[in-house]
Assembly symmetry: C2
Homo-oligomer: 208 residues x 2
DNA sequence: TAGATTGTTAATCGATTAACAATC
DNA sequence: TAGATTGTTAATCGATTAACAATC
């Protein structure tokens, strides 16, 4: 009913709606959103209907109202606190990622084992990994990013579970398994590169 | 015939095969690979048959032979040169990404507009963006990564097209459109975060 | 009102899985 | 040989698209 790709499309509709709003659109049609995101108008309406997002026969969707509803489905109606484990290049990139600026995604702390990286005074402090569980509980953080080398990922994952984390985005090139209590999304950069290479080499366009 | 998700699975089979090889497996069965990657054995055999990867009735697949074939499909049988445009935190993280070490993915240069970042002596030199086209042609680079802020992405993309780039992995939170000559994969980190948030909030496990 | 767009149902399309004959 | 596993075809499942009645 709600597959990964359906939610990905919802994110795109949201981004398209933001763009259209900035162009002073007050209402949009399923046709506009389809064009902007590369799907059919039917798909847009179907996706909306599954989440009970409704518009106006004849009048399309009010952009402001639509954004409220999409943000609600996507959890963007309230702050979402993340911690990052592993403050190497990638971890630091995520902590400083400017794209989260206007969004409700907040990276509230980083954790590492290297004392040279600790910095308690930063907006998002960098702390010893031993403080992870305490910090997560004190600050009610349920979401985490793993940005450590592959050999350290499983150990970090287990620490995160003990700390009560409910969702993990894993950038380490190791496949972590979710269970009933913890949702894991694995994002393997090498795999993304391989995918691009394949489609360039064969000149086939991916369905994505 | 060859969708994005089929190629993603192929990457996973390859990673599983590498792991099994390191455990001294000489042959593997579709069943092993299915278990290791979370798909059915039928799926594995179907995927293989589409790419003409064949095994031994009764004897499964020789790991070494399988890896050769998978690497060939994925373009890992020869070096794949990438350039990175935008040497901020994310760009630097990609240039230094240790996960590419053993792989045939090579990041051969970075480009930026900030002179403070230039470094012609590094293994992967950081160069002024004006030198992009010249460098790409001289070094026969066809693959690029965009890691610049959103407002700069479209301009960079057009420069890349002019430089003869054939494939782009875009990390900027803007949707770039591929055409017949250039394959684009958009990887929007915010979207990945939203996806995780959704599934954590609803405790539904994604099909992925 | 007449015309246009939604919301939803039915039809289509494609991908996954099951089954089994071929065969090592 | 007998048993186990592949490779492939057929069946199933799910997701996308088309169509159209409802209606603003």
């Amino acid at each position: 009913m709600s597959t990964r790709s359906r939610i990905l499309r919802l994110s795109r509709y949201k981004n398209a709606a933001i763009r259209l709003k900035s162009l002073n659109f007050v209402k949009v049609f399923s046709d506009n959103l389809g064009d902007a995101t590369g799907v059919t108008a039917s798909q847009v309406r179907k996706d909306f209907s599954i989440f009970g997002i409704s518009g106006n026969r004849r009048g399309g969707y009010q952009v402001d109202e639509l954004l409220v509803q999409l943000n609600k489905v996507l959890g963007k109606d309230k702050p979402q606190k993340f911690i990052v484990v592993g403050v190497g290049n990638l971890g630091r990139a995520l902590i400083n990622y400017p794209g989260f600026g206007k969004s409700e995604i907040r990276i509230v702390a980083g954790f590492d084992i290297d004392p040279a990286k600790y910095n308690r005074k930063a907006d998002a402090p960098i702390l010893p990994i031993d403080e992870l569980a305490g910090f997560a509980k004190a600050n009610e953080v349920e979401l985490a990013i793993i940005a450590v080398p592959d050999f350290a990922a499983q150990g970090v994952f287990e620490k995160l579970i003990k700390a009560g984390i409910k969702g993990v985005l894993n950038f380490a090139p190791i496949r972590l398994k979710s269970d009933d209590n913890v949702t894991v999304h694995n994002l393997n950069l090498e795999t993304e590169f391989e995918n691009l290479i394949y489609f360039v080499n064969t000149k086939t366009s991916p369905t994505e």
